[in-house]
Structure formats: structure tokens, C-alpha cells
């Protein structure tokens, strides 16, 4: 229908369309020569535009009816609005609303209690872990102390041995007292170091003729 309407233009379309079958339109409404901004013609100078005539009785009746209608609509609107406001108020402050809020608060408290329990559990695990770590640390420290003590003992023993050895050697030292005596001894016992020695440290008593 749209395409057919668009195709046919002008007054002829009135005859063809079928919606306005009766009469041809001699002049279609058009703006004409003048645009909006052009002033009206001189012939229209004294033209008084008269509004359409009004029947006063009908007007009164119609006005009264419109007033009643307005009052009715306002009343209906205010009734609905009041209902809505009441509903909204009940949701927050009414019984159901308060129950809902209490339930929410209770649930929150429950969740917080559960969270606290969780925290407690973790806290206990942490304490356990720390205790174990402390015990291990103490044991380690003990072992270290023992090792240290052992080392110290060894060291002391070594040093003591050295001291004793030195003391023993000191008996053979040449002092100013027995200097003369020792010189006499040496001169009286000449020692011959003119001997051969093999790799094992044995002195060669006799040489082998190969």
C-alpha cells in the first residue's frame, strides 16, 4: 500500500486510492509563493480572525464534565500513590520488613561466629606450629652446645699433651748448669753419621756387590 501511494502523486491519487472516493480536490494545500517570514498582503489588512462559534449551554456542560473528570482522575491517582507509599513503608518498617531485617542481622552474626571459629582454629594451628618450632630450636641449640663443649675438650686435651711433651723434652735441655757436663759428654762420645739410608729408613749395614 505504501509503495502504491508513493508512486501516485497529485490530486489524481485521491480518485485512485479508494479512501477518498467522492470528490476531486481542485487546489491541494500548499505554502504558495510566500515563505513564513513574508508579511501578509494589503488586502488582508482589515481581516479579523473570528474564532469558531461556541454554544454556551454546551460549553457549560462540557466544562462541568471536564472538571468532574479531572477530580475523578486526581482521586484515582492519589489512591494509587497512597497504596504505593504504604507498600514502600511496610517493606521497611512493617512486620515483614522488620522480620526480614532481623533475619539478615541474625545471618550476619552467624557468619561472623563461623569466621571467628575459623580464625580460632587457625590460631591453634599456628600456636602448635610455633611451639614445635621452638622445641626444635632448643634441641638444636643443645646439640650445638654439646658439640662446642666436645670441641673445647679436644682442644684442651691436645694442648695439655703438647705441654706434657714439652715438659719431658725440657729434661734434656742444655742449661748453663749442665753445659760443661754436656760438652764433656759430647766430646767423649763421638758419633759417626756417615751411613747410607734407604727409602724405608733402614740403615744400610752392608753394601751388596751386584
Amino acid at each position: 500500500m505504501l509503495r502504491s501511494l508513493q508512486a501516485s502523486q497529485g490530486p489524481a491519487s485521491a480518485l485512485l486510492s479508494g479512501r477518498f472516493p467522492a470528490l476531486p480536490l481542485l487546489t491541494a494545500p500548499m505554502r504558495g509563493r510566500k515563505s513564513r517570514t513574508d508579511p501578509p498582503a494589503k488586502s488582508k489588512a482589515g481581516r479579523i480572525k473570528v474564532p469558531p462559534p461556541v454554544d454556551p449551554a454546551e460549553l457549560l456542560v462540557v466544562r462541568e464534565r471536564y472538571r468532574q473528570y479531572g477530580r475523578l482522575m486526581k482521586a484515582i491517582r492519589s489512591v494509587f500513590k497512597q497504596e504505593l507509599m504504604q507498600q514502600r513503608y511496610d517493606e521497611t518498617f512493617g512486620e515483614l520488613g522488620r522480620q526480614r531485617q532481623e533475619a539478615i542481622v541474625k545471618e550476619h552474626q552467624q557468619l561472623m561466629a563461623w569466621n571467628d571459629a575459623e580464625n580460632q582454629r587457625l590460631q591453634q594451628r599456628r600456636e602448635e606450629r610455633l611451639r614445635k618450632e621452638k622445641a626444635e630450636e632448643e634441641q638444636q641449640q643443645l646439640l650445638r652446645a654439646q658439640k662446642e663443649a666436645a670441641l673445647l675438650e679436644e682442644f684442651l686435651k691436645e694442648k695439655e699433651g703438647e705441654v706434657l711433651q714439652l715438659q719431658e723434652e725440657a729434661k734434656n735441655f742444655i742449661t748453663p748448669d749442665n753445659l760443661d757436663q754436656r760438652i764433656e759428654e759430647c766430646l767423649n762420645n763421638p758419633r759417626n753419621y756417615n751411613f747410607a739410608i734407604d727409602k724405608d729408613g733402614r740403615i744400610a749395614k752392608r753394601s751388596v756387590l751386584s
Partner: protein, 178 residues
Amino acid sequence: MPMKGRFPIRRTLQYLSQGDVIFKDAVKVMTVNYNTSGALGEGARKFVFFNIPQIQYKNPWLQIVMFKNMTPSPFVKFYLDTGEQVLVDVEEKTNKEIVQHIKKILGKSEETLQKETKEKMKLRHPATFGPRKYHLRECMCEIKGQIPCPGEIPLPKEMRGKYKAAMKENTVSEANSV
């Protein structure tokens, strides 16, 4: 340079929208204390690295503050608008466990979320016309199969008010004359 950082997937919208923790309206601030080393705080580190962006994306009005190496053990603390502070110990937990725990104690439940989406849908009636902010369409001319906008393509004369009025006047005057 399209990819930035060590795990650029964290910056994708798809990854961010997969976060499922939406906090209750009462939660205003979230504080995370974690350590950069230590085997027990590995879950907390992963939580901060992978899950905090998702949480922030889903809760844009939540303030999240993070502290490094301030305490020996990691924890998360929430500050509610009632003044209550909720402490969550996260020392020996994996990041998934942390997310589950947080969701349980302070997240909005499924029913609440569904109710909220329903209420949002109520405000948007798909059959109404009006400004784009509140409606789907502004005018019938936008719909396929309907008459195009008379602003673009002028209506045929038979549909225009002034033509119809002129025709009506014509018929009245002719009827009167006859």
C-alpha cells in the same frame, strides 16, 4: 605492545568478569596484609595477584588497601559501615579457599543478586519508547517494517494531516452545496 606484565590475562575483560564475589553494601573498605616471602603466605600472595583485580572489577566502590611485610602472618580485614571490623586469617589457605571464605561471610547471596537483576529489569519495559537512557527505542520509525521517519522521507499526501483536513473541508462544502 599488546601484552603488559607477567600474566596479561588478568587485564582481560573476560577474566575480570569471571570474578564471582560481590560484597554486601555494608562493606566499605578491604585491607590485605601479606608478605613477599614465606611458604605459608603463598596463598595470600596469589590472592593478591590473581583475585583482587576481579574483586575490584565487581565492586568498583569498594576501597582496597594492601600492605606488604608489616606483620608476620597474612590476614584480610574488612571495615563495615556499622563500624564493625571483620578479621580473616589467611595464613595456610590457598587463594581459592580465601575467595570462598570471603564470599561466604560477606558476599551477596545468589537470591539477592537475582532479586536485584529482576528489579532492574522491572524499571526497563521493553515496549515503551523514549530517551535512549531509559528505553530501547525512541520512535516507531526505528523499527524494521514500519513507516520510515517523515524527517528523512516525506509521508505520502494521503497520510498528512493538512491534506486530510482539506479533503474533509472539501467534502463538507460539496455536501452543503448539493
